[in-house]
Symmetry: D2
Subunit: 343 residues, 4 copies
């Protein structure tokens, strides 16, 4: 039986932490070494998440930048932004591979980060080295990375939907992304807006054209497609479901494409990608198709008369939009099979 690598999880008690632990628990090549939580130090993780009872009954340790656990081969940071950049420098010094699920290392330029997040970036050095990892688009970069910035949930869905159009250069004018998300995207934040009374029986647009993921999307797409493009209008919504993101791209086209051609374009770009399902023409994914999985379903349509494309993508915001993709990135960086632990 092969030796498993040891991994630790910082911020284990959030929703992405929980999903991560569930995946790692069954991972054939990784084994959970330590789980950290400042708030719940000393408690058992199965007290926080009773559904882990009998499966994962492990104590939570308080994290500390001074005593980084030398014993782990790799680390997942499921921390809020501004916190991750306290741990990454220490991990980098010890040469421990990290997948960071916060926003701290998602921009290559610290000025972009500071503009979007409104706080100074204290670790410009590692920022430059970090690789923003969308496994279906830049796996070669991920393979060589020592530090991986795991993309945001909206960003993942929108990037996967837009990439072939951007790369092919067939867009004309702005592309519009209308995204609908389940409430787990907000994590466990204690805020009025996330009360049952406010979310149930309600459909709510928010941060219209001002959501932070917008910059992350255009920044990566420019880098990955090697083009100058940031012509995106983005509007997210809260939908009263627990999990799932549905992202619709609406885009005028510069070239005449018919349904077949657009469909084939996506089929070609994502051929052999284990977690991407391109739907047949006329069929579109719904969130229930992907909830509980690391899959991304994509459907395509063309309005011939208006020369416009509609792309619809569905993911589980906590898995492909967070913890599943983090493991996928780690698998690639570690040289494991891309889908290990997720099938």
């Amino acid at each position: 039986m092969k030796e498993k690598i040891k991994v630790s999880v910082y911020g284990a008690t959030g929703f992405t932490g929980r999903e991560l632990l569930k995946i790692l628990y069954g991972h054939p090549s990784m084994q959970i070494n330590r789980i950290y939580s400042r708030t719940h130090e000393g408690r058992n993780i199965s007290d926080i998440f009773p559904s882990l009872k009998g499966m994962l009954d492990m104590k939570l340790t308080a994290p500390s930048t001074e005593e980084i656990d030398d014993n782990s081969d790799a680390v997942f940071l499921a921390l809020p932004h501004e916190t991750s950049m306290k741990y990454v420098p220490v991990l980098a010094k010890k040469k421990i591979l990290a997948v960071d699920m916060s926003a701290d290392y998602r921009f290559s330029d610290y000025r972009e980060y500071e503009e979007v997040y409104g706080i100074p970036h204290s670790d410009r050095e590692n920022l430059k080295k970090a690789v923003y990892g969308i496994p279906e688009i830049n796996p070669e970069e991920i393979e060589k990375a020592d530090l991986i910035a795991n993309p945001g949930c909206y960003a993942t869905a929108v990037i996967l939907s837009l990439y072939p159009l951007i790369k092919e250069g067939v867009l004309k004018g702005p592309a519009f992304a209308d995204a609908k998300s389940g409430i787990s995207g907000a994590g466990k934040k204690l805020h009025d807006e996330f009360l049952f009374a406010k979310r149930y029986e309600n459909i709510t647009p928010y941060k219209v054209n001002s959501h932070r993921h917008m910059k992350e999307i255009t920044s990566f797409l420019k880098h990955a497609a090697g083009v100058k493009w940031d012509n995106l209008v983005f509007c997210p919504h809260l939908i009263p479901v627990e999990r799932g993101i549905l992202a619709n791209i609406y885009a005028p086209l510069s070239e005449e494409l018919d349904c077949d051609e657009l469909h084939n374009l996506y089929a070609k770009y994502y051929a052999k990608k284990l977690f991407i399902n391109i739907y047949p023409e006329g069929k579109f994914p719904q969130t229930s198709d992907t909830v509980g999985t690391n899959n991304c379903g994509i459907g395509t349509a063309v309005s011939k008369e208006h020369n416009a494309a509609v792309i619809i993508a569905s993911i589980d915001n906590l898995i492909k939009g967070a913890s599943g993709q983090a493991v996928q990135n780690m698998n690639i960086a570690m040289g494991f099979g891309e889908s290990e632990g997720m099938r």
Copy 2:
């Protein structure tokens, strides 16, 4: 005390029927004369809708084209399409004012109807006379009408959002409408797709760019704005809430407008419209703002850098999107106050 007019309701046992009865029950100038249902003939309406118990305990009569109740001053048809056009000719002959909530009289050209609905139209004569009534746009036509085609729910939200842009001629290229609807829009249809198991915890796009309301929208907008325009891409979604529609319009602009100018445009168009609330800049409606009311909330935004507009409208699909607007139309046609019975 003033005399009330007598109104009858055909198709009283659907969801729009129920909302209609609730409004009419408290209407100061109308009184419910007869309620019809083929399926539930002889039963009491409060057996079908227990929440009406003690309020409206009225027997349901089977409708018949042969014995149209002469006793009613006006009639609401909450019937499926293809059925309405059997009753309208008889009502027209008796000069009874009708508000038809089906799709049967929503197109002025029978060929358009036949193309969209795939069945022959058997009443071309009244079709020509029917007025498609959006009270905030063509009240003068409604005032004089003998037959009013009440708009579809998606159509209401999209038309109200798009009208100022179309009328001002500031659109460039296709406008995209992404609409999200509660499940009551499907009525009581017994279909797999409307089972709790399929709808709960799910976000589902459907009829992408092929929904019937698309034609109804462009057809009316061309007529009302007096322009040649049908550059619309429309994508509806089912959302697991009972009620509410949120419709987002995404549109490249031909002229440079800033946020202020767009906001003022909408404020001007809908000034003095009792049921339209234009939100302040930076604010957008959510469905809970309008559920249970005949209101339509509208928020506007401009992306200056991409010269594109985002308009978001919220209505209650069963009220402003159906029964409330039907009463509003009837109020206007009858010379009552526009908001009677709805405040």
Copy 3:
């Protein structure tokens, strides 16, 4: 046209406040004079509840025990417990009739209050005079009251279900009440437990046999039925719906009753009660039957072989369980028709 009395509402911005305003807005004999809120002083109520827009656009005033509005004929207190008892003495001095929706005046004995609520009662004088009002049970007391303690939501459902059994003295041993409530019962409390993430897709028992309403129920039943009885085990649950309470009573019987006899007992007790619907044998209410109404549906069953009764009651927790019953109590105390404003 008859003169309406003027009423004020303290605590207008909670969920029960909102329901109260909706009812009062359409009340034929009451007119809203002032609405109070400490938190939202100076704001418009329709900013807090956008669905009131165009209907009730009224400013909120900060309440003060020093400047009680002399101008109101009656007052509704939709305040938390401990706050009501600050206002009641001032209102009493000015001889303004009050319906208090908090728990402050629900016990006739201050020691019972202090034991259950764990705080001293500062207004023993008015406590003695207050009438706990269940309009279907003690209307004569309500008629003469100057201060009415409006019952809790669970208490209303359980009392109405149990009263005939208690009054007839047919119970043997403990009665068990299993109640299921929608989340609006928690109001707008900002607490972890009321986050969407915690309530959605979850069924949660709480305060098993230790809920405060338990004492309120037995205290009133003893008083109203004139018996010595407090043999109640009570277990409430949170259910992911917005509104509605379903309360099931399970009780061994001391006498042999068959289904008919039990049904007839309830039919007799609640004959002519406008808001009580006794279901036919074999039929039981569900919450959707009563949501949006001031009705209470009651179904009864007997297990002959085990000599036990099952009673199931359904109410809207915000209406019959709070604001509707408050108006019903006020109607009775003011000499108006019992159902005014609610039909």
Copy 4:
């Protein structure tokens, strides 16, 4: 690597089929051999359940009593009642171990079955041999079984809650079971009552004291505890969640027990039971604690003054209430570890 046994699944396209496949897919000692469905013959299971895409892409075969697959070591029947008893005789003849998830083999006496299900039982022979398997109660019987009747979901929760009380003989008079179930319990039945419109925002009691599981519960408890007892009143409810059952037992006691003693009783009975979690005093399970697991959480309380017990149990209706327990039963019968495949 050890050889896995081959198992087939009949009725693979229902919700319990889906859960079963998910468990079997990751089972270390079983491998899915064939999956059967009459309705979806020839289709791929991942077309029916898109969330299985990339994991289980297997063709569905039409089942036939004539051509039972000889190749399987064991079989799961996720079929409706009346259908299972067509396949069991053939499987029995071929000596293939079967776990039947229908109700067909849950009674040892065919007359009891015929009374409860209202149809003749065509396989009395195997009925006599079948073992009703609650792994925490009668594992020795399960070990030796050739045919296992897998308990119903309500029955599982109620039996586990009641067993210690029955076995100890401390009940006095009727026990009342109030159960609340998610909608997946109804499977994919196309019936009005299971439409989103009927279930959402609704709490519905049904089959009050007449549900079929009632007999199954008392029948097994008598057998397992070796007592004469069938003093149960049972009332199930539909709750608008997808998954989960919460079952509350309310019971007058014949002996004075305090909280400690009752808690210890349950702790003793279920000590070392891998899937049972007895909650500390004052704590009770909610459905989210067990959803997605094969666990059963149990909380206990005593009302000293009324000498009554309250027991609350929570399970996932599709796992511990169906497919998980089926695998647990199969594991025991096959000599595998009880929890294999479920951790």
